[in-house]
């Protein structure tokens, strides 16, 4: 079921950065890419359940703060050890300066 949820104002996340968003017991990571687009993935690393929002965004990569595992946050692809399982991604849109994610996707 499609369910768009307001996360924050677009300006709340710096370019090439990430923010944590918790909703109904689930945690997400919301990314602002260097080319001014927004993306969303599950908030926890698939390797050891560490919050990715504490990690480092480099171009289109999010690096986990604990073991430096890397994902392409645009499609959730794991980019090599120690992460082997892809991240789930969610649709994102910006309306009236607000970032919204579709958690039902």
């Amino acid at each position: 079921m499609s369910q768009w949820i307001e996360v924050c104002a677009a300006e709340d996340i710096d370019e090439e950065d990430v923010m944590r968003f918790d909703h109904q017991g689930q945690t997400f990571a919301i990314y602002h890419s260097p080319d001014d687009k927004f993306y969303a993935t599950d908030g926890l690393c698939t390797h050891e359940k560490v919050h990715l929002a504490d990690g480092l965004v480099m171009d289109n990569i999010i690096e986990c703060p604990k073991h430096n595992g890397r994902f392409d946050y645009r499609n959730g692809a794991a980019k090599g050890a120690p992460v082997c399982v892809n991240l789930k991604t969610y649709p994102v849109k910006v309306e009236a300066g607000k970032v919204l994610i579709n958690t039902g996707a």
Partner: protein, 355 residues
Amino acid sequence: MNVIATPRDYGLLGRDAKIAEEMGLASAQWYQCPLPRKRLKELMTRKDAPAIRDTLIWFASFLVSGGFAYIFWPTWAALPFFMLYGVLYGSSTDSRWHECGHGTAFKTRWMNDAIYHIACFMIMREPTVWRWSHTRHHTDTIIVGRDPEIAVMRPVMILKIISMFFAIPQTWTAIKSVLRHAAGRLDDEEATFIPEMERGRVYLVARIWIVIHAVVIASAFYAGSILPMLFVGPLPTMYGAWVHVMTGLTQHGGLAEDVLDHRLNSRTVLLNPVLRFIYWNMNYHIEHHMFPMVPYHALPELHKELQPYMPRPNSGIIDAYRDIIPALWRQRKDPNWYIKPKLPEGVAPVTAAMN
């Protein structure tokens, strides 16, 4: 007073592994000093320039020391050059393995990977196995039964520690491990931290290494000289190991086990620029464990940021060993004893699971 030694089970499949899980010490949440996200991002920024500069100096040092060792061989004049070459081969590779394994030395991924593989070969740490064991070391730092990289186990065996300075146990373990992996097998403990999909890579690298070592040994026989084996293979790993063991023992030696606060189980030591080049700033070890995404070149800055929350760092190797040697000596008979670093006033340590 008689002290009763509690036998510890450091095996990853043993009694203490189960206890660690029951106590919430496995894959637990660790204490982190407060640091504003903006500042942390600045410190985490990846750069190629510092590591390229250091790697060029590193390669040049290999060439100069190795070149003069070759020229002066077989006279005594070759000895100091072999000593330098050995430290580069058997010690500086420890920090290159480490930093490139984290992927933080260079911004460019392939550069990290290239230096990682070179360093792994020299220090005889199989790249895939050690990548995964180090991952576990960061998840469960000095948690008995969980951390496969606890260098000093209690009760402490002094002779074993002395032999580590010549990489005797490390090399013996590495040779057995490479042969086992070349035969297509992992042991039961390795199977706990190396995922299925990574195992083919383990076997492939082990077979490549055996071919390289066989070529070196064959060339020594062909030349009728041990010289090739002094440059490549287990010998330089062993005769050059002492510096990385000297610095490596400062990381956790004598400190607490089974805590969730790196300030209690890790140590920061201030070193001179030469040792910091060899060790690539891993002497800022509490800082590294607390924020492993900060590259080696930014660790001195991170150290300054975190000082209000940190124990006093040791002022040098001698100062650190003034703490470590008596502690290890005592832990021969009293494995429950450990050094308790003094934190700044008003800063509380975290000793139990927070989640």
